[in-house]
């Protein structure tokens, strides 16, 4: 298993009331698998994903990535994991406005402090995601679909073992959605596991397995599709 979550719980407070955003969720993703988590808005999908990405500590339960549990890792170790082993595509346009497309893509390399020039790898990823021609552009001149492709290329730069994507096709048209899903399928075939959140049943059909979430609970435990 690349990643395994056991009985994750997360409680939020709104005014004086509390509610369980994630309530005992367990899931796992194996090498090269393309897994979806579906559910209506507010079902706890994004909270679950953020706990899996190590961006949000759970109230209880555990997440294990390649045999190492997040609970035993400090901020530096978790950050390094996100930087090198786990690509994360957040909901919405997750690119930085002050940097060109290429600069956005190479940011993980810059953050890692590694030697070498990652520009060639970035250009090949931009080619793969179909936006090489936009390499020198700033995000303000890009469409929603193009921005999402930048985020995908960036998440793949460090050749992660797992790609976590939060609603990567949420606000995209049908054709762009199809393009992104084709890209994800080919990435998965090359060995990178993908865990994707979507509320679109049609998109979810492209995945190998699917978890359904409702009110913070996983209701269908990762059934294989098709």
């Amino acid at each position: 298993m690349i990643i395994e979550a056991l009985c994750l719980k997360k409680k939020y407070f709104r005014d004086e009331n509390s509610f369980m955003a994630v309530d005992g969720a367990s899931l796992s993703v194996g090498e090269g698998e393309f897994v979806c988590v579906t559910g209506r808005s507010g079902s706890g999908k994004t909270t679950l994903l953020n706990m899996l990405a190590g961006l949000l500590p759970p109230d209880s339960g555990s997440v294990t990535f390649e045999g190492r549990e997040y609970g035993g890792m400090n901020d530096d170790e978790l950050s390094e994991l996100r930087n090198t082993r786990l690509g994360y595509i957040m909901q919405g346009p997750g690119v930085l406005a002050n940097f060109t497309v290429t600069q956005n893509v190479i940011l993980p390399h810059v953050i890692s402090g590694r030697e070498g020039d990652p520009t060639d790898r970035a250009m090949s990823l931009l080619e793969q995601t179909g936006i090489r021609g936009l390499a020198a552009q700033y995000p303000s001149s890009l469409s929603g679909g193009e921005l999402r492709r930048v985020a995908v290329a960036r998440a793949l730069l460090m050749s992660p073992k797992l790609l976590i994507a939060d609603e990567p096709t949420g606000d995209l048209d049908e054709e762009t959605t199809r393009g992104i899903m084709d890209l994800f399928s080919s990435i998965a075939k090359e060995g990178t596991a993908i865990l994707m959140v979507t509320h679109d049943a049609e998109t979810a059909r492209r995945c190998d397995r699917r978890y359904d979430m409702k009110a913070g609970r996983i209701t269908s435990p990762g059934a294989h599709l098709g």
Binding site: A53, L55, D75, M90, G92, L96, Q103, I106, I111, R154
Partner: protein, 407 residues
């Protein structure tokens, strides 16, 4: 470093963030620049004045000055503000004072004011000195002039235009510049020094031109007194008064420190005000910058969240924010000091005149120290303000930061 080019460095991230938000960057730099400008300007002016009075105190060298009664403010004007004046007293006062117990030296001076007319090259204070007894100006005239002052020779203060070998006219008579002194930051900088006989002749020339009564034969204007230190200057003044009679003698006995002390006391108050103002300004600036950095940090929550999701550690994220604020603080500090210097240095003569303090004098080393101090204080303000914001953002959970950034 060029923004938009690859490969990008970690410092390049900070640079691009500053460059791609020019309005925000310029506003922050301006805020720090205002602080640095006031700090440097204030410290340079106060430092100059304090340094000038220190110089005056050292150069005056006398414990007591004997003047015609009522001229104690006049001598203050001559020494501190370079206001030319003419007044006389009888020569014998130098001998009389010398006989008082505790006096070890008494040297007369003659003060003659030239004026702004065709007869005189410049309006200045002409000071006649008795070269055999003088202990005030003679020692530092010696540094510029190895021999004695001959008849018709003058030594000019550092602020007087003219070079050694040049000529200046006073009351229709030509004088040769034998030497020029360094600037002292005192009223002496605008003065003309000549031997006593030449000065008496100048006084007679002046009275002929103005129609004023001629000076009495062997006239002097003041006597500088050096004591053996057994008595304080005030006690010596009392002894002189009691020997020659209060009010009846027609002289004023002024402890030299009183002249400088009046100014020093005023300066201490002024320096206190400036320091207090600078402290308040610093606090306000830290507060304003904290608010600006805090607002900016709130605006940039999503950006910080993205960087965290890409694997930047809390420490590196904090160092990125600190790097940006360090660049802003340094740029603001240097800009402020440069602007302040640009205002002060070319207009220092005007400032001296406006605030009636010709003894403003700050050596370059002291000026550099003031600049370094102002830069450090401005830099500290910027850093302190940003550290609070970066600490706050780094203490938050990343997902919380992203969610708030989306809100």
């Amino acid at each position: 470093m060029k923004c938009g080019k690859t490969p990008l460095s970690f410092r390049g991230i900070a640079w691009c963030n500053l460059k791609r938000r020019p309005f925000r960057t310029v506003c922050l730099i301006s805020l720090v620049a205002v602080l640095a400008c006031v700090l440097f300007g204030g410290s340079a002016i106060i430092g100059s004045v304090v340094s000038g009075t220190d110089g005056l105190s050292k150069r005056l060298g006398a414990d007591i000055l004997i003047l015609p009664s009522g001229y104690d403010k006049t001598i203050e004007g001559i020494l501190l503000r370079g206001e030319p004046s003419t007044f006389f007293m009888e020569r014998e006062w130098a001998e009389k004072i010398y006989e008082v117990e505790g006096v070890i030296a008494a040297s007369p001076q003659l003060m003659v004011a030239s004026f702004n007319a065709s007869c005189c090259s410049i309006p200045a204070q002409i000071i006649g000195i008795e070269q055999d007894t003088d202990f005030i100006v003679e020692p530092w005239i010696r540094t510029s002039l190895p021999g004695r002052l001959s008849d018709g020779d003058i030594v000019v203060g550092g602020a007087v235009s003219g070079k050694p070998g040049g000529r200046l006219n006073f009351f229709g008579r030509e004088y040769r510049i034998a030497a020029k002194m360094e600037n002292t930051g005192t009223g002496f900088d605008g003065s003309i020094f000549m031997d006593m006989d030449s000065a008496r002749r100048a006084a007679r020339d002046r009275s002929e031109m103005t129609g004023d009564p001629p000076p009495p034969g062997g006239a002097i204007s003041s006597v500088a007194v050096l004591t053996d230190g057994r008595f304080t200057p005030n006690a010596m003044a009392d002894r002189i008064y009691s020997r020659f009679g209060y009010g009846k003698s027609g002289i004023a006995v002024v402890p030299a420190k009183e002249i400088i002390g009046n100014v020093s006391g005023g300066l201490r108050t002024l320096a206190g005000f400036v320091t207090a103002f600078a402290a308040v300004l610093w606090l306000l600036c830290v507060l304003a910058l904290s608010v600006v950095f805090s607002v900016m940090t709130n605006e940039r929550k999503r950006e910080f969240g993205i960087l965290r999701s890409l694997g930047i550690t809390r420490k590196k994220l904090a160092s990125l924010v600190v790097l940006e604020s360090a660049a802003i603080s340094a740029a603001g500090g240097l800009t402020g000091i440069f602007l302040s210097a640009l205002l002060i240095l070319p207009f220092r003569v005007y400032i001296k005149t406006t605030i009636s303090m010709p003894y403003m004098h700050m050596p370059p080393a002291q000026m550099l120290a003031a600049a370094a101090g102002s830069l450090a204080v401005s830099f500290a303000a910027g850093m302190l303000a940003s550290l609070c914001s970066s600490a706050r953002i780094c203490a938050r959970e990343t997902y919380g930061v992203i969610r708030e950034g989306d809100a």
